[in-house]
Amino acid sequence: MNVVNEWAFIGVFVAVAWIFPTLPIALAAFVSPRKPNAIKMQTYECGVETVGDTWVQFKVQYYIYGLVFLVFDVEMIFLFPWALAYNQLDFFAFGAGLLFIFLLTDALIYAWRKRALEWV
């Protein structure tokens, strides 16, 4: 298969993959009973009425982990081309890769020292 066909396959795959999980839900919508009432539709919280708004501001620690992840995720993408061509490259490529990974590790050490990785 050529490159266009490969991605055509993925395109069709994405479309078809949606059908199979949607089918049982659609089937259930026809078959299952539907008798909603106010108490049944309450938020499930140990039988007590929920207090206050649910969509609140959250602990900042989760956000920091998200940020640290973002740094790594973006930089790791750049390592893949390096790994891909590595077999054809000489020792200089190892040095270049090492330098890049060192910069990445630098970010990790910085976050570590700033106590961004502590669960407080």
Binding site: F9, V56, F69, F94, L98
Partner: protein
């Protein structure tokens, strides 16, 4: 083009019988897609039965044994039950996102199956960036769980969604670093290319550290014990899926079961040679048996982990990832890259013609294995030092507390 094998040359067959070439090709693609998407959904019926039987044996029970022979039809009965259950949407839920979440969680896992090679010729599509594709598609599952937790309008569910952000997202970092090692050794990102490169030697021998890290982080990615903080029953009731009922609840679990098996398949393909085995070139169908057998071992192993290990605390979970797995996986990539250059400089690397030969691969494998062992020994040494320091600091704390207790009656006497 000739019309010989009906499945592999369907387009040619249709063209011979006078169909429009574009349409013929589309029908061929569609047929392939339907086969590959059906596979995980049929497999999941069996997987749920295996999982329940296995969990039952671990807990000294019999497990499902009433519906059908050995309880094999239990899953189908359960699916029917789930379909006729009332589907309750809580008041105040974000309806669109709430309904989309379970579907996306299944879709994200099924999409991974497009690039899993089952034999030299049986693969959905051999993308040239297959390894990157499955990471990208797999992380959509994280999004689905976040959507479910957020849209349910329930505080427990929201806490579950928060933990997803912390856990699933963090464990992707060591997973991708571990994935870098097979790409580095094979010099290819297509899944078929990575499996082909293991004809001579499985990558687990070249880099056992990467294999172990990949296994641990994929175990965390599925969100099951010991990493099941996102649905921790005893703290968050059910976590992100608390408000779901009926078939939508069922889909989350179907997605999870397939995800575990998919990870086992990836583990087998990336590190344990995938379909590589005796006589696979003559009879490609044997590849199915090899890869599924290898995957079954990892599947059962992760079931064993799930059923025997206690849940970790969230601070332990995050510290284990960022302060242990990430540094170790970075060091592992550097060591493997360095040793690959050394091996080539010394002329120990197998030549292109001999790359399928076990003996020719042996010198390279031994060098890399020694490198991995060096990492393992160093890490164990560091862990031992760390543990000793922890114990010492705890001892001094308790001693100080005892001193204070002793002083109190003395002060009272004054």
């Amino acid at each position: 083009m000739e019309c010989t094998d009906i499945i592999n040359t369907l387009a040619a067959c249709l063209e011979v019988s006078g169909t429009d070439p574009g349409l013929a090709q589309f029908i061929q693609i569609l047929l392939g897609v339907v086969i590959v998407t059906m596979a995980p959904l049929i497999v999941v019926i069996l997987l749920i039965w295996v999982e329940r039987k296995f969990a039952a044996r671990v807990q000294d029970r019999i497990g499902p044994n009433r519906v059908g022979p050995y309880g094999l039809l239990q899953t189908i009965a359960d699916a029917l039950k789930l379909i006729i259950k009332e589907d309750i949407t809580p008041a105040g839920a974000d309806r669109l996102i709430y309904n989309l979440a379970p579907i996306i969680s299944v879709v994200s896992v099924v999409l991974i199956w497009a690039v899993i090679p089952f034999s030299p010729i049986h693969i959905g599509v051999d993308l040239s960036i297959g390894a990157l594709y499955f990471v990208a598609v797999g992380s959509i599952g994280t999004l689905a769980i976040m959507m479910a937790g957020w849209s349910s309008n329930n505080k427990y569910a929201l806490l579950g969604a928060f933990r997803v952000v912390a856990q699933l997202v963090s464990y992707e970092v060591p997973m991708v670093f571990a994935l870098l090692v097979p790409v580095l050794i094979a010099g290819s990102m297509s899944m078929q290319g990575i499996v082909e490169a293991q004809r001579g030697m499985w990558f687990v021998i070249l880099s056992p550290v990467a294999a172990l890290i990949f296994f641990i982080s994929t175990q965390a990615e599925t969100g099951r014990a010991p990493f099941d903080l996102i649905e921790a029953e005893s703290e968050l009731v059910a976590g992100f899926n608390i408000e779901y009922s009926g078939m939508k609840f069922g889909l989350f679990f179907a997605g999870e079961f397939v995800h575990v098996f998919t990870n086992a398949l990836l583990m087998a393909s990336l590190f344990f040679g995938g379909w590589v085995g005796p006589a696979v070139d003559q009879v490609p169908a044997l590849g199915f048996i090899y890869v599924v057998l290898k995957a079954a071992i990892f599947y059962l192993f992760s079931l064993l982990l799930r059923n025997t290990l206690p849940r970790v605390r969230i601070d332990q979970l995050m510290a284990f990832n960022w302060k242990f797995l990430v540094p170790v996986s970075i060091v592992n990539v550097i060591v493997v890259a360095f040793l690959l250059q050394v091996v080539r400089a010394l002329g120990l690397a197998p030549s292109a013609e001999l790359s399928n030969d076990f003996i020719a691969n042996l010198p390279q494998a031994i060098v890399l294995l020694v490198g991995s062992l060096a990492i393992v020994i160093y890490v164990l040494q560091q862990l031992r030092n760390f543990g000793r320091q922890e114990r010492l600091s705890q001892q001094t704390v308790t001693v100080r507390k005892e001193d204070e207790v002793d002083m109190l009656p003395a002060q009272a006497a004054h």
